[in-house]
């Protein structure tokens, strides 16, 4: 039972809120255990029965198929995460170039700071959108 529960808990690690996850872990674990029991009753050694049940069970994507709305949310979250990374990379590139030009041609005034602050809205807004989607 422990091995099965560990497998199911690991499978659902990044999915659902705590209450939903708890219920789903219980049902999936019970159903898998019932399969193991049936296989053992039919003469399969217990370790083989557990391995077979886990192997045939499916993955996190299969679980999400039962919850299309959560699947959509996961896809959206993935997109938002990519947007955050892209904006962060873009921001660092812009600030980097500004810093280089600033130090190279007019190092007496550090005007690149204005660009660094001005363009900060980009990753900040992406991060804000990511957080809203996550919640």
């Amino acid at each position: 039972m422990n091995r099965i529960k560990k497998f199911v808990s690991k499978l659902l690690k990044d999915l659902f809120n705590e209450q939903d996850k708890k219920e789903l872990i219980e049902i999936l674990t019970t159903s898998l255990q019932e399969k193991v029991d049936d296989l053992v009753e039919a003469g399969t050694p217990i370790d083989v029965a557990i391995d077979q049940s886990i192997k045939e069970f499916g993955n996190a994507k299969d679980v999400l198929e039962a919850f299309p709305e959560k699947q959509n949310k996961k896809d959206q979250l993935h997109r938002r995460k990519n947007q955050v990374l892209y904006s962060l990379f873009g921001y660092l590139a812009i600030v980097g170039i500004a810093l280089y030009v600033n130090l190279q041609f007019s190092s007496d005034i550090l005007w690149f700071i204005i660009i660094a602050i001005g363009t900060l809205f980009w990753p900040a807004s992406m991060f804000y959108m990511y957080n809203i989607t996550k919640k």
């Binding site: 049902i27 679980v63 198929e65």
Partner: protein
């Protein structure tokens, strides 16, 4: 072999129908689907049991603990009155869909 993408919208109805025929536990439902469709419908157990949990959350089915042959316990599922009403409704939708497909595809569906 048909995968669950094609039949996804009907999994709820299929499970409720099976449970209307007889109370079953999770793995029994999986076995029944395989046996009735002669392995032509490939639904992963991860999906099936998750749908069962969703149906229970929506109070279309309920569960109770039953005995099994060798003294252990099993979690059996049965259809609630709400589930019966839902089944009737989706069955009517399915009949309508069948009529539409027959009207569109004619004898090709036979």
């Amino acid at each position: 072999m048909i995968n669950s993408d094609v039949i996804r919208g009907h999994i709820d109805t299929i499970i409720i129908k099976l449970l209307l025929d007889k109370d079953m536990y999770g793995y029994e439902i999986a076995g029944e689907i395989k046996s009735r469709t002669q392995n032509k419908f490939d639904i992963k157990e991860a999906t099936l049991y998750s749908v069962v949990q969703r149906l229970e959350q929506r109070e279309l089915i309920s569960s109770y603990t039953g005995e099994k042959t060798h003294g252990g316990k099993r979690r059996y599922y049965r259809v609630t009155p709400l589930g019966r009403a839902y089944y009737k409704e989706t069955l009517n939708e399915w009949k309508l869909l069948r009529e539409i497909m027959r009207a569109m595809l004619g004898d090709d569906v036979e």
